[in-house]
Symmetry: C2
Subunit: 348 residues, 2 copies
């Protein structure tokens, strides 16, 4: 097997210069009809495909965007990634995907690699800790656009697209209160992460607004993983909260596992509002009341913004804040039938 045809081969085959070939490949207008047809014939004959690596080197543009998420295995992220892939696709960009496991080390390694591969921009869901100075400097230096996804990171003041987590949490806790819950607990994400802080604040403020006490030992800091929800459950239930707001789905699953082991039932023994909704949560029992986050949109808006930056939009940094939506089901002790109203999206 011989190697793929290059632009030179096409030029030779059709008896024109590489310039002309390049012009027809990129269909610039200035090529005579006769030549164009000869070139096109040669392209077909040789089965020529432009080498995008070479093109990237010459144009200093890869049409690739890097995306770093904590873990694509966390059911929250696939939809986000899908959203960005869809948008990227539409604009002729590809996605290089990395997982950081919320580890600074992996994150920085991923960034270095993406920069070395000369991606045109990066979508980042920042891990908790601060960048090392060297990385920060490197980022500043290469000067490609970043947009933060789901989590802000002030040290690198830039574009971000997030959800209104404060508001979502506030709604969640208010709902718990309206359902008559008095001792409301929080299982939080890592407080170093911006959205966990927001959700925490929403929890605190809603409590206050409802005239409910804030009990320090009713808030537990998890790490958004299932196991931390499980552990949180075990230590939390001994304190008998009658309502719990859990800051993400995976921790909710862990929590429910713990509840079951301790013989506690939802909503009979405790009310629950979880963050982040999934189609199947309306099907299985207990039917979880959740705060839905527009995951797909999150990803696509981030991608759109990033691509705008890549293509030269230099307007001032923006913070896009998407609105969550409380989906009332049955995990707080009563089925509110308004949830079947026109606002509810059909499952399928």
């Amino acid at each position: 097997m011989k190697k793929a045809a290059s632009i030179y081969d096409v030029a030779r085959e059709s008896g024109v210069s590489v310039f002309t070939v390049s012009a027809v490949v990129n269909n610039k207008s200035h090529v005579g009809k006769a030549l164009r047809e000869k070139v096109e014939a040669a392209i077909r004959k040789l089965n020529y495909r432009p080498n995008l690596i070479a093109r990237s080197l010459a144009k200093q543009r890869t049409h690739t965007i890097g995306m770093i998420v904590p873990d694509i295995g966390n059911p929250f992220f696939p939809s986000v990634v899908r959203g960005t892939e869809d948008a990227a696709q539409r604009h002729g960009y590809n996605l290089l995907l990395c997982n950081s496991d919320d580890s600074l080390e992996k994150e920085e390694k991923a960034i270095e690699l993406l920069l070395s591969k000369r991606v045109d921009g990066i979508l980042l869901t920042k891990a908790a800790e601060d960048f090392h100075p060297s990385i920060r400097q490197m980022i500043k230096q290469v000067n490609i656009p970043f947009v933060l996804v789901m989590r802000t990171y002030p040290k690198l003041t830039r574009d971000a697209v997030i959800t209104d987590d404060y508001h979502g949490a506030y709604e969640a806790v208010s709902h718990l209160a309206r359902a008559g819950r008095k001792r409301i607990a929080l299982i939080s994400g890592p407080l170093k992460v911006s959205n966990a802080k927001e959700r925490w604040q929403g929890f605190v403020d809603a409590l206050k607004a409802e005239g409910l006490p804030f009990e320090q030992d009713l808030v537990i800091e998890g790490d958004y993983r299932m196991e931390s929800g499980y552990r949180a459950g075990h230590s939390l239930f001994s304190r008998r909260p009658d309502g719990i707001y859990v800051a993400n789905y995976l921790m909710t699953v862990g929590l429910l596992k713990a509840a079951e082991e301790m013989g506690l039932r939802c909503p009979e023994d405790f009310g629950l509002v979880s963050f982040d909704d999934y189609p199947w949560l309306g099907i299985f029992r207990p039917r979880l009341t959740t705060v839905e986050l527009p995951k797909h949109q999150l990803g696509s808006e981030a991608a759109e913004l990033l691509i705008r930056r890549i293509t030269g939009d230099t307007s001032k940094p923006v913070l896009i804040k998407l609105q969550p939506e409380l989906r009332i089901r049955e995990s707080c002790g009563f089925a509110l039938h308004v949830s079947a109203g026109p606002d509810e999206k059909p499952l399928v």
Copy 2:
């Protein structure tokens, strides 16, 4: 802001040739200590990072693998992708991710793009229809390794890593039969897809082995999406099956939605075995009995195999078949407590 330092800048700064710089960057052994240190100093000073695009062009290797899945938003795939990313990572490869939505058109477009971007190999979960001849020829021509994931595709006889779907389906249906179900239905994936065919065959053979009738109008062909499960449910339940085997999770969710709308309960009105397990299925009710597929392993083994091919392994094509595992819970009408035995993985 000036552009990034190149190998030439480093060479000039340290007063050596680009050859030497290249040698230390790739730490070849032949560089004298004195020079090496000078070069390293210059690298640090200029904050030099090799341009991997240029390297790829020169070496004809991108250290990137392309992966095409139907939909990363389908909860089945994230773990697979995570598995391949982990393996790729370990070997210094990156992942370019594409979604095909099981559409031949999108799939072929993705392949063309990946080939043009000169990925070193491709991981493919093939859409149902056959490649067009031109694509097939193109693939043959570029001659980069493909490994098929989850689905085989005989027309392109190559490496594949799949799960033993026949066996999994057989087990599922046998379990339904052991639970006393007599009229067992199947909600299948698209029969043009290899694994759907396998699961169908496992269903048929298990029925026969159990001495149960095969009723044609108790099998419905879906497309692995939620909505098709929902529709299948609506048309199926009027025929009153007492057991259902559903070939994937998303269709199960749709089916359960339909069941609810028709006032049918699982397992009281029908037994259910679903394919493909998730941590939360052991938590919510009904507790689904499922056939777990080793998703992460699927992805990592595929990546390992692909990378072996990329790096020159020319041994004959292999078909890696991973074993599924029946996880007995309660959706067939009785809780078999063997499921709590040593075989069961802890949730967290």
